[in-house]
Amino acid sequence: MKKVSIDPITRLEGHGKIEIFVDDNGEVANVYFQIPELRGFERFCVGRPVEELARITPRICGVCPEAHHMAAAKAIDACYGAEPTRTGKMLREILYNAFSAGDHTTHFFVLAAPDFVVGPMADPAERNILGVVAKVGPELGGEVIKMRAWSHELIEIIGGRSVHPVSTVPGGVSKPLNDEEAARVREIADYQVEFAQVAIKVFNDVVLANSAYVDLIMSDMYAHKTYYMGMVDENNHINVYDGDIRVVDPDGKEFVKFAPKDYLDHITERVEPYSYLVYPYLTGVGWKGFVDGKDSGVYRAAPLARVNAADGMATPLAQAEYERMFETLGGKPVHATLATHWARLVELLYMAERTQQLANDPDVTSPDIHSQPTGITGEGVGVVEAPRGTLYHHYKTDDKGIVTACNLIVGTTNNNAAISMSLKKAAQGLIKPGGEITEGLLNEVEMAFRAYDPCFGCATHTLFGEMPLEVAVRDRNSGEVLNTVKRFV
């Protein structure tokens, strides 16, 4: 197909852009998407003391700053060869799980729930958090806000600040927990476990009880048979803070399991000529294009991928829900992208239970909160499971600990290829010869995006208006624009 170059100067006005190429028969040949590029990150970091990256990287993304902070902290540990103490690691993991639980809560009730609780065909004016509150009641709405507020409070107790924690140091954390704080952390954890169960009940009563919604979740429209990636502990149970990275194939069989520091041996970042976006794929399988299947190195990350890649959950209530989910959806692995919303709730329960488990460990108030770095190794990789996918931070430093290079693979990047594939599938289902596009197309396209909850938040910064998005349909031979629909102010 004809190569189309996208002028980097004209395309970026702070909105996402989707380009759909149709052939002579009017059939969709291919779909590409772009988001505004944030430029010069490496240049911005090089020359700084590596510890600063724990305060810089959280500011790339206003959505999950804590995830960047924690991945950075771990990469910095490795640059100093400093292994965290048991208590230091525990405090970090409590903070991180509390953040993850709060984020999953926000996502489910503000993003997913409007489609399912209010309904995907409902009036857009009602298909938002206000419609959800109108349907489930202000009491539940208040609980969602409280869940977030208490998560922020926990982060502040351990992290020093509620959104951008400041307490990690190479080898641990800088501040121990006293008895009063530990008691409050346990109280918050207990509430989170309760809340997670309420969220699952809402899902049962409103989504699973409605066969139209179940059909939507299981619809082939957004199903892709890909490899799945997630971080697991030594029992192959999900752990979002630490572990090895496990990848299973489209049939659910383990393909590879590697330590974070070896990620470059297993993941290749592919660059396509028309885009600055990178498309990571599994080196061991190879790149076969934007296609499904065992022979294609395309893989997915985030909640659905994680539950597929793991053998189970490390805590009892979450394990029971994990089993129930797979039993209901017909076994492992589940390929239906929209099932990620259920997987997110299974994870929410785990994160709350894990926080509770750690908060009740006697060592949680120990003063042994960090080890002492003794030198500089010059290189470090830190990986965590961010809400939206496996997050890799890789830094190199000189012998004084000054950054010489840095590379990040953020959660959504893992899914770039899959997002393209989902967009193409949605477009092919809706664009018929004639090149006409309707509002319906935009909604379906947005649902493909939303299912991945991509971290484009930092890039789309407008004061008011809807998520800026432009869809253009082009002739695949001439590149001529046949039709466009824009949704931004």
Binding site: F44, I56, P124, V133, P138, I145, H152, F456, F464
Partner: protein, 153 residues
């Protein structure tokens, strides 16, 4: 003044002009602030806005804007009905001001009766840098004056 006014600078301090709101409030903080006025900054929006705005009668937001239809450095004021089109339901972490106000009211929170925003047209919000571009930097003092007039001093 009722004594419960918030000046809220919003932005990202490492994305060039996106840091405008935070630069403004930092400079404002070095000056004398009238009684009953709180000045704070936020690097995240969405539901965080609900938590920040509740308990205040008037909120003055300072931010950067990419409309593409103004020159960098131009300042625009929004209030009341200007926020009407602002229901953003696609982005979980970028709820519009209107959504946040309506949600707060529905949940029975003490939400502001007046929200005003001053936004500067940005030249660049995509390059990692801690400095504002010259036309945007030149707008800082003017916006501080405008904010002072809003907060009665």
């Amino acid at each position: 003044m009722t004594g419960r006014t918030l000046v809220l600078g919003m932005g990202n301090p490492i994305l060039s002009d996106d840091g405008f709101g935070l630069v403004v409030i930092e400079k404002l903080r070095e000056q004398e602030i009238p009684d009953g006025v709180h000045v704070t900054g936020s690097e995240v929006a969405g539901l965080r806005l609900l938590e920040l705005m509740r308990g205040h009668d008037k909120v003055v937001i300072v931010d950067a804007l990419c409309s593409g239809s103004r020159s960098p450095g131009d300042i625009v004021r929004f209030s009341g009905d200007d926020f009407k089109g602002g229901h953003r339901y696609m982005a979980a972490h970028s709820l519009g001001i209107r959504t946040v106000l309506d949600l707060g009211e529905k949940l029975g929170y003490d939400m502001p009766s007046e929200v005003v925003a001053y936004a500067v047209e940005a030249a660049d919000v995509e390059t990692f840098a801690e400095e504002l571009s010259p036309p945007v930097a030149a707008a800082v003092d003017e916006v501080i004056d405008l904010v002072r007039r809003e907060i009665g001093g």
